[in-house]
């Protein structure tokens, strides 16, 4: 019976491929979103689209699309959202999502890919009385009926939800650009990183540009709740980076960390992980469900948030394990990077519990000569990697648990299968 997956099951034949279910939507996401980043300056054009021209897992858009399919039809306000998606108004049809809310000659965000909707600054601009706006079409009364809601079949994704998936990818790419400069990474996804290709400053500015365009697109979705959710992620990302810089105290020197100190180090690590990785997935998924008409007091957006948060943390924990295990060519970026950056992740924190001498190394962020090698060998001696993997499995299982409150269907099954994939991946 669907939904009864156990981790011992080695047969993946009955498990749907989550990516296959929304393959055509996924393939459109990147090509379409590069459209939004067009600029008159050819160099900026190049930087902004740089990370989108290389293959990517597209995990975040996947979660959004799947949740859209798994919940569209269930929310109280679904009928009015469905109605709106066919209207020529903000938050309406796909082509209307690029309509600016202010006049083009006010915004002056010229985009050669959107020639009719954007404009270049005109020095001869003068003050003129604006036209009174036309009335927007209002939903018919039938959209407010209170009959029981059911999952839409066949599965349907609203234009706004597609656009949200693109916005989330843009926010993610912008954060990668900044991270690669901060971490001084030479490679990303097997090629030169943006700072290596364009220099530090322009990689940073490229990230800001993408963020600006993404935020404008967000406003045009016309949903203040979603705007607030995604905007808060932008803050979360950098605050997670700052949290990561916080010193882990090892006040007992060489002793086994007291339970309080160990607990502090762990909760800080998980909080940082949420801010940097899981927040975007959790709030992205929640936003998708809100766009589908889930109202306050309905469970669907809580399910989405809980799923995203748990799977996001699981994903990062596996990432941290792979940093210790994998070799450069499967990862696409150099392995062993975390220790080099002075970061104590799951395996190191577990190793600390088994080997007290790890404490001072963590505290000084592996900065002395020989620290990195010693730390690596201590982790290897300990059960750090296995225990981190087990924790990832626990989080993934939790993600699967919260899905059980959704009605069964292909999209829900795909989301369940995704929790397995996140754990089993090798890169």
């Amino acid at each position: 019976m669907r939904g009864c997956y156990t981790l011992c099951s080695s047969s993946t034949l009955s498990q749907p491929d989550p990516f296959a279910l929304v393959a055509s939507e996924l393939s459109r996401i990147r090509t379409d979103l590069v459209h939004l980043l067009g600029s008159a300056h050819p160099g900026l054009d190049e930087i902004a689209s740089y990370y989108f021209l290389r293959p990517s897992k597209q995990l975040r858009p996947l979660i959004i699309l799947l949740f859209a399919q798994a919940t569209n039809g269930l929310g109280r306000d679904w009928p009015s959202k469905k109605w709106a998606s066919e209207q020529a108004r903000p938050g309406g049809r796909a082509e209307n999502l690029d309509e600016p809310l202010s006049r083009a000659n006010v915004l002056n965000d010229w985009n050669p890919n959107l020639k009719e909707k954007t404009s270049f600054y005109d020095p001869l601009l003068s003050l003129s009385l604006p036209q009174t706006p036309t009335e927007l079409p209002q939903p018919p009364l039938s959209t407010f009926d209170s009959s029981e809601r059911m999952l839409i079949s066949p599965a349907f994704v609203l234009p706004t939800q597609m656009r949200l998936a693109q916005i989330v990818e843009m926010v993610h790419a912008a954060s990668l650009l900044h991270d690669d400069v901060i971490d001084e990474s030479p490679l990303r996804r097997g090629s030169l990183s943006a700072p290596e290709a364009f220099g530090n400053k322009f990689a940073v500015l490229g990230g800001n540009f993408i963020l600006g365009r993404a935020s404008a697109a967000l406003a045009r979705l016309g949903d203040p709740e979603v705007t607030q959710l995604i905007a808060s992620v932008i803050a979360n990302l950098v605050e997670g980076e700052i949290l990561q810089m916080q010193d882990v105290e090892s006040p007992d020197g060489q002793a086994v960390p007291s339970s309080q100190v160990a607990k502090n180090a762990w909760t800080l690590y998980l909080q940082k992980t949420y801010m940097k990785t899981a927040s975007l997935m959790a709030k992205g998924a929640r936003s998708a469900v809100v766009l589908g008409g889930c109202a306050d007091g309905e469970v669907y957006k809580e399910i989405a948030y809980a799923y995203g948060r748990n799977i996001g943390i699981a994903f990062q924990l596996v990432d941290d394990v792979l940093d210790y295990e994998a070799v450069e060519d499967t990862l696409g970026k150099p392995g062993g990077a975390d220790l080099q950056l002075g970061l104590a992740t799951g395996p190191a924190l577990y190793a600390w519990e088994e080997h007290p001498e790890m404490g001072p190394l963590i505290e000084r962020k592996f900065s002395q000569a020989g620290d990195v090698e010693l730390a690596r060998s201590l982790v290897k001696k300990s059960a750090g990697v296995e225990r981190t993997r087990a924790l990832a499995v626990a989080y993934a299982t939790q993600a699967r648990e919260v899905l059980q409150s959704l009605p069964e269907g292909e999209a829900r099954a795909a989301l369940e299968a995704l929790t397995d994939r996140v754990i089993k991946r090798k890169s």
Binding site: S39, A40, H41, P42, G43, D45, I47, P90, L101, V106, L107, N108, D109, Y121, P123, L125, L127, S128, Q131, V181, I182, E184, G199, N200, K201, F202, V204, L205, N208, F209, L211, G212, R213, A214, S215, A216, A219, G222, P224, T227, Q228, I230, A231, I234, A235, L237, V238, E239, E241, I242, M245, Y274, M275, R286, D296, E298, E302, A306, R309, S405
Partner: protein, 353 residues
């Protein structure tokens, strides 16, 4: 340790004394109560010596104090930024324009009564200042939605499905609020909290882009690690908070305006740099094209911010589509920025505070 600034730079002597006493910039500043707007008598309007900085002195000091407090509370590393900002304060021209335009137009827009009402409700319900929330706040729930709590304690266990809740809505505008046919300026003049927040976030965006502007491009130079990282993280931190605050203003039009400013500023910087990456910018074919490019760079790099910030302020005061007030604000911001930039002459550089 740098010398403290003289009194002529920072007008609030109480602020300076407190900083000196505690030797630390922002941590020990008490919470400021939002300032009451200075009321002037109309006879003074005709005085040639009306100084806008004096008119809005308490608001500007409030904004500067908040920004310091925010930077100081984030992380020890970002302290350096707070110190730098304290000893090299900006003239706050941008917030000044936002606040002046607010004061000059509040009451005129069709939606003014609604905006005033919302501000009153928020004041009574004790809505928190999201913008100034310190970075680490142990044990305090995310005050916007407890179902998405991200404080450290919430990570002690796996995250389970949260109980449902319905967030309270604002009460509707009472019928006793009259709408007037001829627009009248609000008297006594007031500035809405939302407009003050806008002024604050505009300044944050400006400081953030100055920081990012300082990032060194060369990746092969021996890095001292701290310089670039501080500039990037500091700028990002301010942009992140500004984005959150912007979204909480609750107006899509305003979000769109400010978002395009962020993109415009980058475009301005890139045009200024000339060739970036592998693609080449086409050479100028005529003096007219040269002028266009020059003026466009000024627009992107500085005028866009002032024009759109002014427009946004007036929108927050309830100016509706079809009214002229926000057009006036846009034009004012646009032209004052151009005047400032061209006055500075030289060639193609940003407004220096």
């Amino acid at each position: 340790m740098r010398a403290w600034p003289s009194l002529s730079v920072c007008k609030n002597s109480q602020l300076i004394q407190q900083c000196r006493k505690h030797g630390v910039l922002a941590h020990n500043l008490k919470a400021f109560i939002p300032p009451r707007t200075t009321i002037i008598n109309t006879a003074e309007l005709h005085s040639p010596r009306l100084d806008p900085f004096v008119l809005l002195a308490s608001e500007l000091d409030y904004l500067r104090g908040n920004l310091l407090r925010l930077l100081g509370s984030a992380h020890p590393t970002l302290h350096q930024l707070a110190q730098h900002y304290f000893t090299n304060p900006t003239k706050q021209i941008r917030p000044l324009v936002v606040l002046l335009l607010s004061r000059a137009t509040n009451g005129l827009g069709d939606g003014w009564e609604q905006k005033k009402w919302i501000a009153e409700c928020e004041r009574v319900s004790g809505r928190h200042e999201e913008l100034n929330r310190p970075l680490t706040r142990p044990g305090v729930l995310n005050d916007c939605n407890p179902n998405m709590s991200d404080d450290t304690a919430s990570f002690q266990s796996l995250f389970s499905l949260q109980t449902l809740q319905i967030l309270p809505e604002l009460p509707p505008l009472p019928l006793s609020y009259k709408t007037v046919d001829t627009p009248i300026l609000a008297n006594p003049p007031i500035i809405l909290p939302a407009q003050i927040r806008l002024a604050q976030l505009i300044e944050m965006i400006h400081v953030a882009s100055s920081l990012h502007d300082q990032v060194a491009n060369d990746t092969s130079a021996p890095s001292d690690g701290t310089g670039n990282k501080l500039a990037i993280l500091g700028g990002d931190f301010l942009l992140g908070r500004a984005s959150t605050a912007l979204s909480r203003l609750g107006d899509d039009e305003v979000v769109e305006l400010v978002a395009t400013v962020i993109a415009n500023i980058v475009e301005g910087a890139v045009w200024k740099a000339g060739n970036v990456g592998t693609r080449v910018v086409s050479a100028l074919s005529s003096p007219a094209q040269g002028w266009n490019r020059y003026l466009n760079e000024i627009y992107l790099g500085s005028a866009s911010l002032l024009a759109k910030a002014g427009r946004a302020a007036v929108i927050l005061g309830g100016s509706k589509e079809g009214e002229i007030w926000k057009e006036i604000a846009y034009m004012y911001g646009l032209h004052i920025a151009f005047a400032n930039q061209v006055r500075d002459s030289g060639f193609l550089h940003y407004v220096n505070d």
